[in-house]
Structure formats: structure tokens, C-alpha cells
């Protein structure tokens, strides 16, 4: 009982990283921009977000600055792609390198070398009264503020894409920017907005790791989760409600691999650590038939 409850709350803790990041990738993807820079954005946001929270003592400021860092990267991605027509994937890879370099550089310059690991101010736990008292449901109804934000943003993204005019227009751009343009939708502006907002969510995911999960910053802190989030966005077929399912699934696999690693088994622990990465490939193989891409994703659009 207690084990299950602990497992569930661990899964939700990690699922927030995956869900926020893949939601961000889904949002820009729907407008036709394939954001493979998530890993670099997360690392940069982790660094700026953590340091802001550390110096201001405010977890909210940490997340705000993390999101702004993400937005800045998203804007850069949109600018270089929309204005200078740089291939989205090349850009993404360059931004991963810039993001991870900038993250460690900033941290080294600002924080210097410290003997003790600096601690982040705690992010408050918000619980639903009564419901959180039920043993098995406690994981669901008692969680840190960002988990609730993740639920809210998932819902908002779904509502935006399937219940609003602008969401429909964004999806139309992802399918066919030319038709959308003819229909009078501002393709460029929407792509800028979607990439910037989406990257802000990726920034939130990045800041979440040092602020909540590890409570301190370390180099390469996202450890490939940004790339896995790209895999989740593909698995989700760029649908927000499937991003959260993917987030929970991969989080469960990651938590399971931690647990298995600690068991004394004849299988060397490194093979359990490989599990989440194989899982991404396995899931993409299994669900290959159901995966759909927005038709124009990754392709530049110009009126000529």
C-alpha cells in the first residue's frame, strides 16, 4: 500500500518534467516548428531559474525566469527559422549546444566553486483537503504547485487547440501553412507565438528539475529528458492530452528503472539504467501505426 502510494507520487513528480517539456514541443509543432532544442532550453532554464530562486529566495521568481529563458530561446529559434530560413533541425542542435554551454558557464561565473551544494527554496506542496487523506489517492491530491500547474496547462492546451478559433488556426498552419495563409491567418506571427510560448513551457520543465526534483543544480542536470520529451511529443502525435499520458508512461519507466537498479539482481544495474531509452524506441515502434505528424512540420514556409 505505502509502496504503491510512494511509487505513484514519484511517478507524478517526474512526469511533470516530461509532460511540461513535451507539451511545449507539441505547441510549436502544431504551428509547424519542430523544436528539437528542448534539452538545451531545459539546461539553460535550469541554470537561470535555479540561480534566481537561490538569490531571491522565491521559488516563483525561479520558475518565472526559467520560463522567460525558455521563451528567449524559442524566440531565437523562430527568428532564425522564419527570417533567415535556417533548417529547424540544424537550429535545434545548435541551440542544444548553446543552451548547455550557457547553462554551465553562467552557473560557474555567478556561483563560482562552492564546497556545499546550494539549496533551492522549497516549492510549496498543495493538498486537496479530505481527498489527500485517502491512502492511495494521496499521490494524486497532494503535490507541489508545479504539478498542479502542469495539469492546468495540459487542460488549457487541449482547450486551446480544440475549442478556440486561434487553436484551430494554429493547427491549420501545422497542416498547411499555404492554405492557412490564403484563409487570412497570420502564419509568421502564429509560428513566433507558438514557438515562444511552447519554449517557455520547456523552460518551466527545465527549472523544475533543480528547484523541485534535485533541489540543487548540477551540470547536465536534465540528463537527456529533453530529448525523450521530443520522443513523447511524437508518440503523442502532437496531441496535448496524449502528451500527459506519455509523460506519465515514461516517468513510470524511469522510476521503475531506479527501483530495479537498487535490487540486487544478477543483471548489472547499468542495463536497468538503459531501460527508459530503450522504452522510447520500443514505444515508437509499437505505436508506429497511430503516430501522425502535422503535415508541414519541419518545413519552412514562404509566400513565393
Amino acid at each position: 500500500m505505502q509502496f504503491l502510494s510512494d511509487f505513484a507520487s514519484q511517478v507524478i513528480l517526474y512526469a511533470t518534467i516530461y509532460t511540461l517539456a513535451s507539451l511545449g514541443i507539441v505547441i510549436s509543432g502544431r504551428a509547424g516548428v519542430f523544436n528539437v532544442a528542448a534539452e538545451g532550453i531545459m539546461l539553460a532554464a535550469a541554470s537561470t531559474g535555479f540561480m534566481t530562486a537561490f538569490f531571491t529566495g522565491s521559488w516563483i521568481m525561479g520558475f518565472v525566469v526559467g520560463a522567460l529563458t525558455g521563451a528567449l530561446f524559442g524566440f531565437l529559434l523562430a527568428l532564425l527559422h522564419e527570417r533567415y530560413r535556417v533548417n529547424q533541425f540544424i537550429l535545434g542542435i545548435c541551440l542544444v549546444i548553446l543552451g548547455s554551454g550557457a547553462a554551465d558557464l553562467l552557473y560557474k561565473i555567478v556561483m563560482g566553486v562552492r564546497l556545499d551544494a546550494p539549496k533551492a527554496p522549497p516549492t510549496p506542496i498543495l493538498s486537496v483537503p479530505f481527498l489527500s487523506g485517502i491512502p492511495l489517492l494521496s499521490a494524486l491530491f497532494s503535490a507541489n504547485a508545479i504539478v498542479w500547474l502542469m495539469y492546468a496547462l495540459s487542460l488549457a492546451a487541449w482547450w486551446f487547440f480544440y475549442r478556440t478559433q486561434m487553436g484551430l488556426e494554429t493547427r491549420a498552419i501545422g497542416e498547411s501553412p499555404r492554405s492557412a495563409d490564403v484563409a487570412g491567418i497570420n502564419v509568421k506571427l502564429t509560428r513566433y507565438l507558438a514557438t515562444t510560448v511552447g519554449s517557455a513551457l520547456i523552460g518551466l520543465a527545465g527549472a523544475y528539475i533543480p528547484l523541485v526534483v534535485t533541489e540543487t543544480y548540477a551540470p547536465d542536470i536534465s540528463a537527456g529528458r529533453g530529448f525523450m520529451a521530443v520522443g513523447i511529443a511524437i508518440f503523442a502525435s502532437w496531441k496535448p492530452h496524449r502528451a500527459i499520458i506519455g509523460g506519465l508512461l515514461f516517468s513510470a519507466i524511469e522510476v521503475l528503472s531506479f527501483q530495479l537498479q537498487m535490487l540486487s539482481s544478477p543483471v548489472p544495474y547499468q542495463f536497468f539504467l538503459m531501460l527508459p531509452f530503450f522504452a522510447v524506441l520500443a514505444v515508437m515502434m509499437i505505436f508506429r501505426k497511430t503516430i501522425e505528424y502535422p503535415a508541414s512540420i519541419g518545413k519552412p514556409y514562404s509566400r513565393e
Binding site: 533541425f89 549546444i97 554551454g101 558557464l105 520522443g231 538503459m274 524506441l281
Partner: protein, 355 residues
């Protein structure tokens, strides 16, 4: 006839001048950003640039270090470049390098008790390492052609798999050096290792051979021609009977094999044993620098050794900056990223205008 030749020469000259201009502008802009950052951090800009650019040439040791970095970088660059000819991203050069080095080390340590002579063991290890890297790379090609998984995703996932596999072999009971705290294996038998020529690793001969091989392979062989054809126009190539699957599998195999060879040479030449971080330089993956180098030269295989050398000069300079002036190496990594971003942006926006 002569006039046509003159015009052709004029066109080539104009193209070369344009390329040179792109590089000069990009490097200039990136160095300006770097200078600004160094100044903002309160360091002496001129002194920093002197260290950055001259560390490779001021001492024999610096030059040897530069060559030691150039060799794996050339292999990591081809690992990205060759699949990129058919527009696929092999981010897995790092993983393929690790698998190559790991497989060679595991084979060398396993075969050590047999006491094989050098003329058998050394080539055998090279073949094993190269083939392992190639097959590991080809897996990503297969995942694309058979299951339609984007190689960006699959190669990155396989990088992590390779990282854990390397850690497993370097810490496994029969291999690990008990005297070492870090994941490092026992030394390989001397018959399986390569030596140094005047302080330079023999591996640089392999790097030169790789440059020749890649140019020859792409220009003069049927498989190379097929890869270039698919890269130009996949549909047209398929219409003429060139199977896409073969092109993708071959390109990922060749790319992976070259990375695997690079990793093998690090293991059997530079270190003489398997070390966990062997595929990294100053804490950053060779694979990443390979991608940057490849984007700098933009698909020209002959340019690779020169660009790799330039990147290595900066990497050695970065180490020297950190040692002498306490400027973090990440600053130089950032500058390299900016150089590449500028080059790519200028080149692609020029190409877009031309179209």
C-alpha cells in the same frame, strides 16, 4: 572555348570568395561576442585571445595535444557528415565512438591470455571496434527504414545506451583495474596497442586514411554514388532503381564505423585501456564537436581535417585559458556554437535567396 573556361574560373573564384567571406564574417562576429563576454567577466581580452589561439603553437606539447584532439574529431565529423548527405541527422557519433572503443577493449582484454602476436591482435581489435561502431550506427538506420523512427531521436537514445554499456564494461569484474577508483579497465596487452611517432599518436595516419577513404568512397564507388543520388533527390533516385533502404543503412553504417574506428584508436592508441570519459574532451562529447565541425564545412569532405584542426586549436586554447586565466572552458564551447550558428545562418539565408 577559352572564354568559357575563363567564365567558369571566374564563377569558381566568386564562389570561393563568397565562402571565405562567410567564414570570415562568422568567425569575426563570434570572436566579437567572445571578446565582449570576456571583457564583461572582467578579464584581459587581448591576453585571453593570445592564450586561446596560440596555445597549440607555442610548445611541442600544445601541438601534440591539438593533433590528439583533431584525430577523434575528424572521425566524429564524418559520423555526422555521411548520413547527413541523405538529410539524416546522426547525433549518435558519440555513442558509436564509445561502442567502438568499448568493444575493442573488451575483445583485447578477453583475448589477452591467448598471447596473440601483434600482427593478428592489433588489426583484429581495429576490425572489431570499427564493425561494432558501424553496426551500432546501422541500428539507427534500420529503425528509420523499418519503423520510421527519426534518427535524431534514435541516435540520442542509443547514445545513452552506449554510455551505460561503456560504464558496465569498464566496471565489470574481469576487466576493471582494482587499483583505480574511476571506471577504468586493466591495460590492454601491448600486442593490441599502437604507439607514438615523435610524440604524435599513430592514429593520425588512420585519420588521414579516413579522409582519403571518404572522398574516394563518395566520388568513386557505387554505394557512395547512390548515397549522393538519394541526397540530391530521393524520389528520382528511387525511380532509377536506387533503394532508399540501402542508402540509409550504408550511410549510417559507414558513419558509425568511422566513429567506431575513432573510438577504437582512442582506446588502443591514446590510453591503452578503456577509460569511462575517453570519448569526451574537457568534459564535452566529441560527438557534439563533430556535428559543429561538420556544419562548418557544410558537406565538403576535404574541408573536414582543416575545420577539425581549427576546432581543436580552440579546444586546446580553452584548456589553456581555464588553466592560466581561470576562464571556464564553456565560454569557448559557447563561442564555437555561435560561430557555427552564424555560418549556418549566413549560408542558409544566402541559399534561400539564390533559390
Amino acid at each position: 572555348m577559352i572564354e568559357a573556361g575563363m567564365m567558369e574560373a571566374g564563377r569558381i573564384f566568386a564562389a570561393v570568395r563568397r565562402q571565405a567571406l562567410i567564414y570570415l564574417v562568422a568567425v569575426g562576429l563570434a570572436f566579437a561576442v567572445l571578446a565582449l563576454l570576456v571583457a564583461l567577466m572582467g578579464f584581459d581580452v587581448l591576453k585571453a585571445f593570445r592564450y586561446l589561439l596560440t596555445a597549440s603553437f607555442k610548445s611541442t606539447f600544445g601541438f601534440q595535444e591539438t593533433i590528439k584532439k583533431t584525430v577523434p574529431l575528424i572521425f566524429a565529423t564524418y559520423a555526422f557528415s555521411i548520413p547527413f548527405m541523405i538529410k539524416f541527422f546522426n547525433i549518435g557519433g558519440w555513442g558509436q565512438m564509445m561502442i567502438g572503443g568499448t568493444a575493442a577493449a573488451a575483445a583485447g582484454l578477453t583475448l589477452a591470455p591467448l598471447g596473440l602476436p601483434a600482427w593478428i591482435l592489433m588489426p583484429l581489435l581495429i576490425v572489431i571496434g570499427t564493425a561494432s561502431g558501424g553496426l551500432f550506427g546501422m541500428a539507427a538506420g534500420g529503425l528509420k527504414s523499418r519503423w520510421d523512427i527519426n534518427p535524431i531521436i534514435s541516435t540520442i537514445m542509443l547514445n545513452f545506451v552506449a554510455q551505460h554499456f561503456l560504464n558496465f564494461v569498464a566496471t565489470a569484474k574481469p576487466f576493471k583495474d582494482p587499483a583505480e577508483g574511476h571506471p577504468i579497465t586493466m591495460p590492454l596487452p601491448a600486442e593490441g596497442t599502437l604507439g607514438f611517432l615523435g610524440g604524435f599518436p599513430v592514429s593520425f595516419i588512420f585519420a588521414i586514411a579516413a579522409v582519403v577513404f571518404v572522398s574516394f568512397f563518395l566520388k568513386r564507388t557505387r554505394l557512395g554514388f547512390e548515397i549522393r543520388a538519394v541526397g540530391h533527390n530521393q524520389l528520382a533516385a528511387e525511380t532509377y532503381g536506387i533503394p532508399f533502404t540501402r542508402a540509409i543503412l550504408t550511410s549510417f553504417f559507414i558513419g558509425g564505423a568511422l566513429a567506431g574506428l575513432g573510438g577504437t584508436l582512442e582506446t588502443i592508441n591514446i590510453h591503452g585501456k578503456l577509460i569511462e570519459g575517453f570519448a569526451k574532451t574537457s568534459g564535452a562529447q566529441y560527438g557534439i564537436f563533430g556535428i559543429l565541425t561538420s556544419l562548418v564545412v557544410g558537406g565538403n569532405p576535404i574541408g573536414v581535417p582543416f575545420a577539425a584542426f581549427f576546432m581543436s586549436v580552440m579546444l586546446v586554447g580553452a584548456d589553456s585559458l581555464q588553466r592560466t586565466m581561470r576562464i571556464p572552458v564553456e565560454l569557448v564551447f559557447l563561442a564555437q556554437g555561435i560561430i557555427v550558428l552564424f555560418i549556418v545562418t549566413v549560408r542558409e539565408s544566402m541559399n534561400a535567396k539564390k533559390r
